[in-house]
Amino acid sequence: MTNEEMEQLAASIEQMTEIAKSFGLDFYPMRYEVCPADIIYTFGAYGMPTRFHHWSFGKQFHRMKLDYDLGMSRIYELVINSNPCYAFLLDGNTLLQNKTVCAHVLAHCDFFKNNATFRYTSRDMVERMAASAERIYHYELQYGRGRVEQLLDAGLALSEHIDASTDGRNARKVVKQQQYLHRRGEHQVVFTSNPHASTPYDDLWELDGKPPADDAKKPIVKPRAAQKDVMLFVIENSSTLEEWERDILSILREEMLYFWPQLETKIMNEGWATYWHLRIMREMDLTDDEAIEFAKMHSGVVLPSRMSINPYHIGLALWEDIERRWNEPTADEIATFGRQPGQGREKMFEVREMENDVSFLRNYLTKDLIEKLDLYLYQKVGNDWRVVETDWEKVRNTIVASRVNGGIPVLYVEDGDYNRNGELYIKHEYEGVELDLRHLERTLPYLHRVWGRQVHLQTVVEGRDVIFSYDGKKTQRRFVKE
């Protein structure tokens, strides 16, 4: 982008901001940064400019950059859920492309700000991640790069198993309060019953932040109810982790909590942004050449894929369908639901606020739409992947199911004192799709690393309950006796 183009872009952004506001979009102040490709890809790989160092990000960066260099794929932009909202534009984009991108990110920002799923995300995550990265760097200096890296390997492997739901949040609040009360009770008995107490003032030293002497022998608790937040359970109850290690795992968990809503609203969010960049760009004065370039770019973005669901494509179709159905309700819809014509936009803003991908798809992916989009299910048959289902309900249900928990298997901690030996027992909530056993067997050692004792995971293979156990040396699997 030349300086002249930068000026033109600034003028366009001003215009687009006004247009977006007139449409009713509501966003944080925007900070647009034009960066070279390797910077954009760095941020893409790390998810955030300020995140800590890890080789897996380097690997991801290399792969993405290679795809870009070979012309196989490209990221147009990167937008960060924060206040103010940072948007990174690619220097190599044409002026028109960057205009489109700006329109696109305005809608993303509106979504971050107003969708219910995002209500508890930290809006200062850029700074927080920078501070976390700083802490991790200091741990590297203190405990050695190798140890920190090994812990990060384990932590990142498990970091998806958290509980980002409101229920989980509330439950944690209750637990915190109880722990607080419990701890106060403990202090009262320290004087008389703690054999390790060498002086009556031990509890006072603790207030200075000194860990109690028998910290490692913390009672291993049974979760009151099955706990979905495996990370939190490990952080609180592991018998092996040192304080700095708990801190690192807490960082990973906090970062995953921040990213989680984006996993849960991928289709909605991309569809929303695509819907609006289309509307905003239509309001702009484009030359003939620009109009063609825009059409090309847009159609590239919404290109359907035979092997997957393109969130831009499906998302856009869903939003436009909602608008149409509430603008021009059928006689039936007017009679049954009392739906008045012309409420399309209003309905869209309501949906944007209330739903996530699962409810969005379940409520608005209709029979007509599935048939119009020609959605189907395919499966491996012999060596080939073949279409196995076109019935709309089954197609919808499978798509919905694939979005449950952000597409990540749901695990529950069942027992933190299994076999009365402090072993960890986790159950996979099987819902018809088996786990990748090769990956599972290699992830268990990571779990063992952070738990410190034998770990077990129960899942279903070929219709039978199977328990995978790892004792620090090898993984075993056995069937559950019925």
Binding site: T42, K380, L440, R442, T443
Partner: protein, 385 residues
Amino acid sequence: MIEFTLEREDWSLHRKGQQDQERHREKVREAIRENLADLVSDESLIMSDGRQIVKVPIRSLEEYRIRYNFQKGRHAGTGSGNTKVGDVVARGRPDQDGAPGPGQGEGAGEQPGVDYTEAEVTLDDIQAVLFRELELPDLADKEAADMTVDTVEFRDVRKKGLSTNIDKKRTLLQAIRRSGRPHEKRVSITPEDLRYKTWEDITKPDSNAVILAMMDLSGSMGLFEKYCARTFFFWMTRFLRTKYANVQIRYIAHHTEAHEVDEEHFFNKGESGGTICSSAYEYALAMIRNEYPPERYNIYPIHFSDGDNLTSDNEKCVKLVTELCSMSRMFGYAEVNQYSRASTLMSAFGKFELPQFRKYVIREKSEVYGALRHFFSQSGGVRSA
């Protein structure tokens, strides 16, 4: 609050991605080092003339997660209209057992997700790691004389040359041959018939180490045995050519008789027959006497066999090997012995206490690496497990 800002900063010092990419590369190299024994004996590598990229399973580099098995699930796709049950979405590659996920096989670009389970490694990457560990043992400074010799040898015949060097016999032969054609009346010599003798400058290489690679090609050497021996010599040749620019390698193949063969023959041809190892040793000794005086050359005879020697020949072998050892910096005897049977030759060599003598038993493919390290390390070598 300012509604928006648009800025362009100087990012040239931002190297985070590159730094972590470098760390990833480091880990790949570590993984190669760990897997070296298997890599060295990788069939596809040896058969590929070194051009091929091999995929190395590198466990520590995959990011394992608890995730769904893509192969077993049903997935949604988008058609272009009128899709029917039974339509093929993508063709799989047959017998791709254990393929853990998408992103592999043909049409990988079309499959969702990209997660390679293996890192691609070129021959050069492996060499870089492998050769760092190897060296010629006990290399001594030999007389540096006779680096080049100014003799000339006439050993080529060409169509152009100096008239004093006309090869009369060949010129006449050529004239007769041409004149034999039906429309020719009599024998005449035309300029095209002229043949000239030409000479070559003989220069002796400036290095003075020689490897005498001896391999048993008898009938008892099965596929596995030959494979191991050739793998060893493959790496040995590459290693020497990379690290010691002018080391000579002479190839001697034997069954009941020994003869020198060229590299291609040595690596590709099979023979059969009985085994008399002493023939190879005799041949090597003769070669040393004629061409490689020990006071000028570091001599490294290395012999690969299955140990299945003619029993009556063993005594002779011991005598010859003792003599070879006295002339050599190191004598290597490697035995490919898949089933750990008692071999006649090894039992004969078992009593050797000579410092130059090194032996190694290869029981499985991955031990080729051990043999390389054993022979090409400083004194003593690495004991076989």
